[in-house]
Structures are given as structure tokens and as C-alpha cells.
């Protein structure tokens, strides 16, 4: 069941890639948030209640609700509803994403041999998600999709931390979350600023 | 006694040699020509003449002839003259010999550049070009002489008559030829430079002293003759041994000088002067000759050891 969720988590990203509209990517992020929460619930049996609550807040509230809203705002104010402009053609980027997705399994396989005490599939999928996020950043022209790539990558990192991390002190997780959130806000600020002044002509920033 | 004789020779020979050569030349051409002591009487005449100086010239023109004369005389100290004895010698004096000749040349160059005319500069630049090769080959020759006779004194260096080995004949001949060419160059004799042409564009040495007159010109001519005499003696003393009989030595010397004068005269009558453009190749030949000399020496040394 858990593995299903993980696969789903990674597939969602791929599906988002199939739909070439920016707004669909935002839905991807929402779904990822929800799935992350479910994964965590299934994963951490017997984790302290505080951390469960915290993660619930973090994932559901911030990642699944607040950030998509912010992104929508950006989308609204930068009038870039439709095409998420690729640098490559969408066909190739889909191909690459698929390859990344598959590579996740290989990573899982390799990791399984090397390390002990981690769930290999989760690890692999997390890595492939991170790679997908990076790929989004690299292959898109619009800044909004860069931000989304960043968010997806962060989700991947979160999944990775689920897979690897012993219990991190709550204080640290809070700090990390705050940084992440402020970072997103800053991105929003600058995206709007750059868009309104029309600094970014050819997506070369 | 020998010293006195030598000093007298140094003073007299240079005054008469050029005239002698001219006389013999004209005889060979079938002319009567000027009397044999012409150059001497020229010297006297020049001494009496009034001294003319160029307006654009400076103290150099007053100064330069004297160093030329003096350095010529000092160079003459080290050269073996009659009986193969020099007036004065000391170890490593060949360096001084060469450098004093160079010094006289430098002063001549300065004098030439002093009067702002273009002809003298032209002559000077030619002179420099020949000096360049001459100095090098002169030292090459000296080096090989040192290697032959393990001596560093000019007088003993150049005496080769005691060499008995058969291949030394070639060596001595080569040496004499090279010295001969040096003489022609230094004193600007015929095949290299024509002392009594009247086309300044082709002159080398004479053009440099165009603007000098009376005493100065006399000095230059004297210095020129002196060089001629010195090189003659260098040639002579390679083959004629040192003797203590003064008379014998004197006779030997005079005869040899006469022979050389004859040779020069013959050459000057037979050959026209070489084209300026070919002259540097000619110089190079002497350099190569000197190199051959050196290799010969080294070979001989190898044979000896």
C-alpha cells in the first residue's frame, strides 16, 4: 500500500508533465502534498504525536494548500496561464521525465544492495522526484515553472528525509519549514517584480 | 740599440711606404709617376698648411686626430719589428694591440660623424661593417697563434719558424695570407678600397677624412702608413727568426718589406677594386680562413698530445 502511494507520488509528477499547462502543475503540487501526508501516516507508525501533528500541518497546510494558492496568485498576476514554455519540445521532455522516473527504480535497486535500514523504493522515487524537479527548472523558460520545479524538488527532499531520517529535532524542522516558506514568498516577490518591470525577456535569468 | 733602431723605423717607414708603393705602381703601369719620397714631402707640406675646420664641426675635429695617432703609436709598441724584437711587451699585450687599433677607429668614426655631411657618415658606416668582421677574425687568428705557441706575448706568439711539422707549411701560408688581407683592409689598400679614387660614393676610409686638413690629415696619413708597416712586420716576423745581429736583421726586414711592397703594388695594378656589395663576402672569406686556421691548430694539438 505504502509503495503504491510512493509510486503514485512520483507518477503524479509525470502526469503533470503530460498536461502542458502551468495550472495543471499546480494541481500536481497539491496532489503531492496530500500523498506525502498519507505516506507519512503509513510510514511513521509509533512516531511521537507532536511530530505527526507538525508534519500534518506542514504538509497539508503549507505544501498542499498555501503554496498552491501563492502560486496561483503569481499565475494570475503574471498572465502566464497557458503554455509552460519548454526549451525542448514537449515530446522529448516527456521522454526525459519518463527516463528519470524509470531511473528511480534502478537507483532503488542499487541502493538496496548498498545500504541497510532504508526503504529502497522510497529512496529511489525521492531521488527521481528531485531529479524531475531539477529537470523542470532546467527545461522551462517561465520563472513560475522554475518555482514549481523548486517546490517539487523540495517535496522530493521531504520524501527522502522520510525515507532516511531518524527523528529530527522539532526545532530544526520548524526552522527548515520557515526558511522554505519565506523562500517561496521571496520568489513570489521577485517574480512579480521582474515580471512587472519586464526585465525577463528571453527567460535568461 | 735595437730599441733606437725600432723607434726610428716606426717613425720613418710609415712616411715612405705609401709613396714607394705609388712609385712602383706607376712604374708597373709604365708611367714615371711621382718621386718615391712623395708621401714624405706631402707630410711636410701638410704640416705647414693652414688648418681648416668645418663650421658645423665641434671640438671632436680638433681632438680626434691625436688619439688616432697616439693609439697607433702605442699599438706599435707591441709589434715585433726589426730582428723580431718589439719595443715593449708584456703578457696578454695582443688584446691591447687589437683594442688600440679599435680605439683609433672609433675616434675616426666620431670625426667622420662630426662634420654634418652625408658622405662621411656613409664612409663611417662602411668602415664599421668591415671592422665588425675584422676584429672577430683578428682575435680568431690570435687565439690560434696562442694555441700553437703556448705564449701570450705578441712577439713570441707570432714566431712560427720553429715549427717543424710538415703541415705547418700550409698553416704559415694561410696565416700570412690572412694577415695580408688584414693589412689591405686596415690600410684601405686597393682591392678593398681605392685610396686615390675621386668618387666619394665608393670610398671607405678616405671619405671619412674628407674634412680634415693640414696637421690632422698628416696625422691620419701617418697613422695609416704606420698600420701598414705594423701589419707588414706581423707578416714578416712569422717567418724570419729573431737575431741579435742588428745589420742582418735590418737587411732581412728591409728586403721583406720591399717584397711586400712589390706584392701590394702588383696586386693594385692587376686588380680593380671589388664592388662594395661583394665586399662583405670577401670579409667573410677571411673569417672562414681564420676558422680553418683554428681547426688546423686544434687538429695539430690533437696530433701532438
Amino acid at each position: 500500500m505504502e509503495n503504491m502511494l510512493i509510486l503514485l507520488f512520483c507518477l503524479v509528477t509525470l502526469v503533470g508533465e503530460v498536461k502542458s499547462r502551468v495550472s495543471s502543475h499546480i494541481k500536481v503540487i497539491v496532489w503531492q502534498g496530500i500523498l506525502l501526508f498519507l505516506i507519512f501516516i503509513f510510514d511513521s507508525t509509533g512516531a511521537p504525536i507532536a511530530s505527526i501533528i507538525f508534519i500534518g500541518i506542514e504538509v497539508l497546510l503549507i505544501r498542499a494548500i498555501v503554496i498552491p494558492i501563492i502560486l496561483n496568485r503569481i499565475l494570475g498576476s503574471t498572465e502566464s496561464h497557458f503554455e509552460a514554455e519548454h526549451k525542448l519540445s514537449s515530446f522529448y521532455s516527456l521522454l526525459i521525465m519518463a527516463l528519470l522516473f524509470i531511473s528511480g527504480f534502478f537507483i532503488a535497486y542499487g541502493v538496496n544492495k548498498l545500504f541497510t535500514g532504508i526503504s529502497p523504493l522510497q529512496f529511489g522515487m525521492a531521488i527521481s522526484t528531485i531529479l524531475m524537479g531539477l529537470y523542470l527548472i532546467l527545461s522551462r523558460k517561465k520563472m513560475i515553472s522554475h518555482i514549481m520545479g523548486y517546490v517539487i524538488m523540495e517535496n522530493g527532499i521531504l520524501l527522502l528525509s522520510f525515507s532516511l531520517l531518524g527523528d529530527m529535532p522539532l526545532l530544526i524542522s520548524v526552522g527548515v519549514l520557515i526558511d522554505f516558506f519565506i523562500g517561496i514568498l521571496l520568489f513570489r516577490y521577485y517574480t512579480l517584480k521582474i515580471f512587472q518591470n519586464g526585465y525577463d525577456k528571453r527567460g535568461k535569468i | 740599440m735595437i730599441l733606437i733602431l725600432n723607434s726610428v723605423a716606426i717613425i720613418l717607414f710609415p712616411l715612405f711606404l705609401p709613396g714607394l708603393i705609388e712609385k712602383i705602381k706607376s712604374l708597373l703601369c709604365g708611367r714615371v709617376g711621382a718621386p718615391w719620397h712623395q708621401s714624405f714631402s706631402d707630410f711636410i707640406k701638410l704640416l705647414q698648411k693652414e688648418l681648416l675646420l668645418s663650421k658645423s664641426s665641434s671640438f671632436i675635429s680638433n681632438l680626434a686626430p691625436l688619439p688616432v695617432l697616439i693609439s697607433g703609436l702605442i699599438a706599435a709598441l707591441f709589434v715585433p719589428l726589426i730582428n723580431g724584437y718589439s719595443l715593449f711587451n708584456f703578457p696578454f699585450d695582443f688584446v691591447l694591440f687589437a683594442y688600440f687599433l679599435g680605439f683609433s677607429k672609433m675616434m675616426t668614426l666620431l670625426l667622420a660623424m662630426d662634420s654634418g655631411s652625408s658622405f662621411e657618415g656613409m664612409g663611417a658606416s662602411r668602415e664599421v661593417k668591415f671592422t665588425l668582421l675584422l676584429e672577430a677574425s683578428l682575435f680568431l687568428v690570435f687565439a690560434s697563434l696562442i694555441l700553437v705557441s703556448r705564449q701570450t706575448v705578441l712577439t713570441q706568439m707570432i714566431q712560427l719558424y720553429h715549427l717543424k711539422a710538415p703541415q705547418t707549411i700550409i698553416f704559415v701560408l694561410l696565416l700570412i695570407i690572412i694577415f695580408f688581407v688584414f693589412m689591405l683592409l686596415e690600410c684601405s689598400r686597393m682591392p678593398i678600397d681605392d685610396p686615390n679614387t675621386h668618387l666619394e660614393l665608393t670610398m671607405i676610409h678616405e671619405v671619412m677624412v674628407l674634412d680634415t686638413s693640414s696637421v690632422h690629415l698628416a696625422f691620419f696619413n701617418y697613422a695609416n702608413g704606420l698600420k701598414l708597416y705594423l701589419f707588414m712586420n706581423l707578416i714578416i716576423n712569422t717567418v724570419i727568426p729573431q737575431t741579435h745581429e742588428i745589420l742582418l736583421g735590418l737587411i732581412y726586414n728591409c728586403v721583406a718589406v720591399l717584397i711586400l711592397v712589390l706584392i701590394i703594388a702588383f696586386i693594385e695594378t692587376l686588380y680593380a677594386r671589388i664592388r662594395l656589395s661583394r665586399l662583405s663576402e670577401f670579409m667573410l672569406l677571411t673569417l672562414i680562413g681564420a676558422f680553418i686556421l683554428l681547426t688546423l691548430i686544434l687538429y695539430m694539438n690533437g696530433a701532438n698530445h
Binding site: G110, K113 | M106, S117, G121, S125, V128, D211, G302
Partner: protein
């Protein structure tokens, strides 16, 4: 010793008071006076210290990165301190004269400050007895001299030349740093006193490598072959007093650095000797031909400095050859040649550069072709200059000939005493030296004749007549005459310095060369005496009349008929093309029907061209690297990704396989 150090520090820090003065002549006067007094004090103190025992150490304990500051007075150091002090004492006189022209300028303060610091650094360098202190003072010397070049910094050529000087100084400095750290690593101590002991037991490879590094590193300052390129450029742009001090005194400090190690290294490998000799020969050759080709008067002199440093390097290599064959005679002789040549060249370069500096100040041009007939504006100074020129071209009656003569003696000894290879080498050197002698003679005649002789080719009323310059030059000429006429005494004095070092025992040099030296000096004396007598005699006996120059009948000679320096040397430069690359540049293309076509001949050093070529190549590479560089965030992240993948593969390679 402490007094000496304090005096030197005073010499550096006294000029700081200048910044409180107003801009009038008093600063120049004050600085000249103070420097003179301090220099005299330095001479006295160092002599007293030296006589009280020649190895006095003076340590300043400091708890900084620099560590303890150790000063030590070695015999060689004493020689160089005296050399620098006395020569700078003389140079200050000219500097005073030269700066009168600018005394109201604001930058004179800085100039004086830097000048005094330079002198102080040069005086301190021989005292330094610790790597860090030595490097500190060395770099202080470089940097002060570098900023001294900037006196006329509006001029673009000055900036270019100074830039070249800067970078070459740094290359040399890095080489020195590497060499010193190698030495410190191998020897285990950064104190100079430990090195003689180290070299006594070091392997031949180590000592040779170190010496080579030091030779190149110090050679950069001394202007020896591979890195001499800065010298003509820097000297031609420097103000007169600076260029005279740099060429007369500063480049000898590089020589000091080399000597410092030369005397303590017992033996050298033949390969090293060959390399050093090659460098020396190339230096001489290039220097001579540059001097022949250049038409910038200061560049000519600078090139001749290069040539002379090459001669010094040649005697260095002969010393090494002597050390290699355990022949103390040749060692000591070469050592004497080095010191003697160093002194006489310093004096000569002071006089030559100062006079030409004065000329450039008066006539506002560097090219000799623009000038001519200066002799008519100042007879005495040009006569004195003539004497220096004659001496510079190593003519028998003056001082530079003595070292030339000694070199010939060394060659002859090599020829007589050694095996076939050395014989051939010696013969080659002899011929080479005479050849170069002629080249230098030509260059000097060209310089003097084009600048001073002939008709006046300029219409300014400037004149060379200056009492101070006359005094200055006559002092220098008297010292030259002393060196020439009392060469025996000088040589025996210099031998004392050698006697402090290993290999000095049983060197019967004076018995070998004493007599010839005496003869040479006496002959010079006779020559001068005769000259003076005859000159005076004829001056009074003969009455003179001035007429037009008889240029083969062509009356009213124009200035342009004068034979230029360029055409004077053409006879040789057509025969042997070496040293410079000539490029003629005409401005005819500027307008379609241009009235007059102005041709300018641009001459550039060939070796410098090589360096430029290398630089261009490096620049091409840099363009490629800049193209590779990440310009925007996406590219940057791409790099991140690539590196991550590479590293992951690298890490897991070992684990999986």
C-alpha cells in the same frame, strides 16, 4: 649596528614629514640634504661595524607573522652597502638638479618619499639575513621603483611600461618565493647563516636546481636573458634620476642576490654551467643588438645595461667553471671581474643616464633622430659625456676595458690550461667578446654622433650647459679614471672580499695578472698625458679657420643631408638581422590626396614579441573558459546537476564494482 639600522629606518620615514611642507623648492633641497647626511652616516657606521668584526648580527624580536627580524653584515653585504651608499650619494646630486624643474609639482613629495625608500631598501637588502625579511625588503624595493616610474603618469606609454615592469617583477618574485621555500624545506631553516653549511653537504642536483631558480629569479631584476624584457621599456619611460638609479644601482641588487649563493655553493653540475653560460651569451647578444637597433636614447642605454649584465653573468659562469674544476685562479679572477664590472658599470650608467635624462628634460624628446648638434650648446658636458661613451664602449684607456681585459685573460688561461672542449669554448668566447665589443662601439658612436655631433637639428634655445651637471659628471669621470689608472690597487682590494669565502686560499692571481694590469694602467696614463700635451700644443701653435663643410662641392648643407643614426647602423643591420622587429607605419592612407606622408619606424624587441604571443594564446584560452562559464541560474543549476552525477558515479564506482 643598531645605529645603522636606525639610520636606515630614518631614511625611510623622514620623508613622511614632507607631507606637512608646502609645495615649494624647499622640499627638494631638504630631502637632498637629509639623504646626503644620512648616507654619509650609513657609510661611516657600516665601515666601523665591518672593521670591528665582519659578522655582526642584530636581531629585532617581533611577535608577528614576520617572526624575528635578523640583520647581519657579511663581507659581500658590506661591499654592496658601500656600493649603493656611495653611488646614491652621487646620484642624489643629479636628482636634486633634475627635480628643480618640477619642484612646484604636487607629486614631488611622493617622488622624494619613494626615492628615499628605494635607496633605503637597497641599503637594507644586503643586511637582511632571514628569508622573510629579505623578501620583504626585496619586494619593497620593487614596489617603490615601480611607483617611481609613474612620475609622468598622464603619459600612456608610461603606464604600459610600468605595467610590464610590474608583471615581470612579480614573476621574478614568485620564482624567488618558490626557490626560497624549496631551500627552506630542504635546509630546514630560514636563516641565511645556515645555508652555507647546507650547501656544503647538499647533493649536486639540489644545489644546481636552487641556483638555477635563484639565477632566473634574481636575474629578472638584474636583466638577464629570459626575463630581461622589462628593462628597456621601464628605463625609457622612467624620469631621468630614477632611470639612472635603477640602471646604475638597483639592477646590481639582483646581482647581489645571485652572488650571495654563488659564493657558498661549493660545486656546480656541468649542465647548470652550460645553461647559465647560454643565458649569459644570449643576454650579451640581444642586449648589444638592441642597443644597436633602438632609436630611443634611453632604450639604447638600457640595452647596453642588459649587455653588461650579460658580461657579468658570463663571468659568473666562468666562476662556476672554475669551481667545477677546482681552479682557484679562475674563480678568484672571475669574482674580481664581477665586482669590478659591477662598480664601473654602475658609475658609467649613472653618468650616461643622468646626462640623457637631462637632455630629455630639456629637449622633450626620446628619439635620437630628432636631435643633433647638442655639443654646440654645452661643450664641457658633452666632452664629459664623450668620455663616458668611450669608456662604455670598453676602450683601452678607461675603466670598463679593465674588466674586458681580465675576461680576455681568463679566456686565454682557459685556452692554455684545459681540455679540448674548454679550449673551443674559450676561443669562442674570445671571438664573441671582440665581436660584441665592435657592436657596442657602433651603438655608442651612433648614440653620441647622432645626438651631439653635426649641426643643430632643433630650434629650441635649450642648452646642456649646467654647472651642477658638470660637477656631477666630473666626479664620476674622476672615479672612472681612478678605477682605470689604479686598477691594480682596486683589484687587490676587491680580492680581499673574495678571501672571506671558500676556495680563496692559495690563489696566486696577483702574481699572474699584477704586471699586465700595472702596464695597462700606466699605458693609459701615458696616453692621457700625451693627449693633453699634444692637444694643448696644437691648440696654441696652429691657427684655425672655419669654413663650410666640404660635402663634395655641394654648398649650403641642409640639416637633412646629415647621416642619421638609423642609416649609420644600416650597414650592420642589413648584414645581421637580430634583436628587433621593425615595422614602418605611414599615415598616407589617412586622406585620399594627402599632402605629406609621414613615415614612422616602429621597433619592437623580438623576445618581447614572443612573450606577447604567449599572452595572446593564453587570452584565447580565457575566452573559451569564459564561454564555458555559467551565465544564468539555469546553467548554474545544470552544472550542479552534472557535478552531482559525476561525484555520485565516482563515489559508488568503488562500492558497486
Amino acid at each position: 649596528m643598531s645605529v645603522l639600522v636606525i639610520t636606515l629606518l630614518l631614511l625611510i620615514f623622514l620623508p613622511l614629514t614632507f607631507f606637512f611642507f608646502k609645495n615649494d623648492g624647499r622640499i627638494v633641497l631638504f630631502s637632498s640634504l637629509s639623504t646626503t647626511i644620512l648616507l654619509v652616516a650609513v657609510i661611516v657606521e657600516s665601515t666601523s661595524v665591518f672593521l670591528n668584526g665582519h659578522s655582526v648580527t642584530y636581531t629585532i624580536h617581533s611577535y608577528g607573522l614576520l617572526g624575528n627580524i635578523v640583520f647581519k653584515l657579511t663581507p659581500l653585504g658590506y661591499f654592496f652597502i658601500m656600493f649603493v651608499a656611495i653611488l646614491s650619494l652621487i646620484a642624489m646630486l643629479f636628482s636634486h638638479l633634475y627635480l628643480q624643474h618640477y619642484k612646484t609639482l604636487k607629486r614631488v613629495k611622493y617622488h622624494l618619499f619613494l626615492l628615499q625608500s628605494l635607496v633605503a631598501c637597497m641599503l637594507m637588502l644586503p643586511l637582511a639575513s632571514n628569508v622573510l625579511v629579505f623578501l620583504l625588503i626585496w619586494e619593497g624595493m620593487s614596489i617603490t621603483s615601480f611607483f617611481l616610474l609613474y612620475f609622468d603618469f598622464e603619459n600612456i606609454k608610461v603606464q604600459e611600461g610600468a605595467k610590464i615592469y610590474f608583471i615581470f617583477m612579480h614573476i621574478g618574485f614568485f620564482i624567488l618565493v618558490v626557490a626560497f621555500s624549496l631551500l627552506t624545506f630542504w635546509c630546514g631553516s630560514s636563516d641565511f647563516t645556515a645555508y652555507s653549511n647546507f650547501f656544503a653537504h647538499a647533493t649536486l642536483f639540489k644545489s644546481s636546481l636552487l641556483f638555477l631558480l635563484f639565477f632566473i629569479g634574481f636575474g629578472t631584476k638584474a636583466g638577464i636573458f629570459p626575463l630581461y624584457v622589462w628593462l628597456p621599456k621601464a628605463h625609457s619611460i622612467a624620469p631621468g634620476n630614477v632611470s639612472s638609479i635603477m640602471s646604475g644601482i638597483m639592477i646590481k641588487m639582483g646581482l647581489y642576490g645571485i652572488l650571495m649563493f654563488l659564493v657558498i655553493i661549493p660545486s656546480y653540475s656541468l649542465a647548470l654551467i652550460a645553461i647559465v653560460m647560454m643565458c649569459a651569451i644570449l643576454t650579451i647578444l640581444i642586449g648589444a643588438f638592441l642597443a644597436l637597433n633602438f632609436s630611443d636614447m634611453k632604450a639604447i642605454l638600457a640595452s647596453s645595461s642588459v649587455e653588461n649584465m650579460g658580461v657579468v653573468a658570463l663571468s659568473l659562469s666562468l666562476y662556476m667553471l672554475g669551481a667545477h674544476t677546482q681552479n682557484t685562479l679562475i674563480m678568484s679572477l672571475s669574482f674580481v671581474i664581477i665586482l669590478y664590472h659591477c662598480i664601473s658599470h654602475g658609475i658609467l650608467k649613472l653618468s650616461l643616464f643622468s646626462t640623457l635624462g637631462y637632455v630629455t628634460q630639456k629637449y622633450h624628446t626620446h628619439s635620437i633622430e630628432d636631435l643633433g648638434g647638442i655639443v654646440h650648446t654645452g661643450k664641457i658636458n658633452s666632452l664629459l659625456f664623450l668620455i663616458s661613451v668611450i669608456s662604455m664602449s670598453a676602450m683601452p684607456i678607461l675603466n670598463l676595458f679593465v674588466s674586458e681585459f681580465l675576461l680576455f685573460i681568463v679566456c686565454t688561461l682557459l685556452m692554455l690550461n684545459f681540455t679540448l672542449p674548454t679550449t673551443i669554448l674559450a676561443v669562442f668566447l674570445m671571438v664573441f667578446l671582440s665581436f660584441i665589443g665592435t657592436i657596442i662601439l657602433t651603438a655608442m658612436v651612433k648614440l653620441y654622433a647622432t645626438l651631439f655631433l653635426g649641426n643643430k637639428r632643433f630650434n629650441t634655445e635649450a642648452s646642456l650647459h649646467s654647472k651642477i651637471l658638470t660637477i656631477f659628471l666630473s666626479i664620476l669621470i674622476l672615479s672612472q679614471l681612478y678605477l682605470a689608472l689604479f686598477s691594480y690597487q682596486v683589484v687587490s682590494f676587491l680580492l680581499k672580499f673574495f678571501s672571506f669565502y671558500p676556495g680563496a686560499e692559495n690563489s696566486n692571481i696577483l702574481t699572474e695578472i699584477g704586471y699586465p694590469l700595472k702596464v695597462v694602467s700606466s699605458l693609459s696614463a701615458i696616453f692621457i698625458g700625451l693627449l693633453v700635451l699634444l692637444y694643448i700644443g696644437f691648440f696654441f701653435l696652429k691657427k684655425r679657420r672655419c669654413v663650410e663643410t666640404w660635402a663634395c662641392g655641394s654648398q649650403n648643407l641642409t640639416l637633412n643631408q646629415r647621416y642619421t643614426g638609423e642609416s649609420f647602423t644600416l650597414a650592420i643591420t642589413n648584414l645581421i638581422k637580430l634583436g628587433t622587429k621593425n615595422k614602418s607605419q605611414s599615415d598616407i592612407s589617412r586622406s585620399l590626396f594627402s599632402k605629406r606622408n609621414h613615415l614612422t619606424l616602429i621597433k619592437s624587441d623580438q623576445i618581447y614579441g614572443v612573450y606577447r604571443y604567449i599572452y595572446r594564446f593564453i587570452k584565447k584560452i580565457s575566452y573559451f573558459v569564459l564561454w564555458m562559464e555559467s551565465k544564468n541560474s539555469q546553467q548554474n543549476i545544470l552544472y550542479l546537476l552534472i557535478i552531482v552525477i559525476i561525484l555520485t558515479v565516482w563515489i559508488f564506482k568503488g562500492a558497486v564494482l
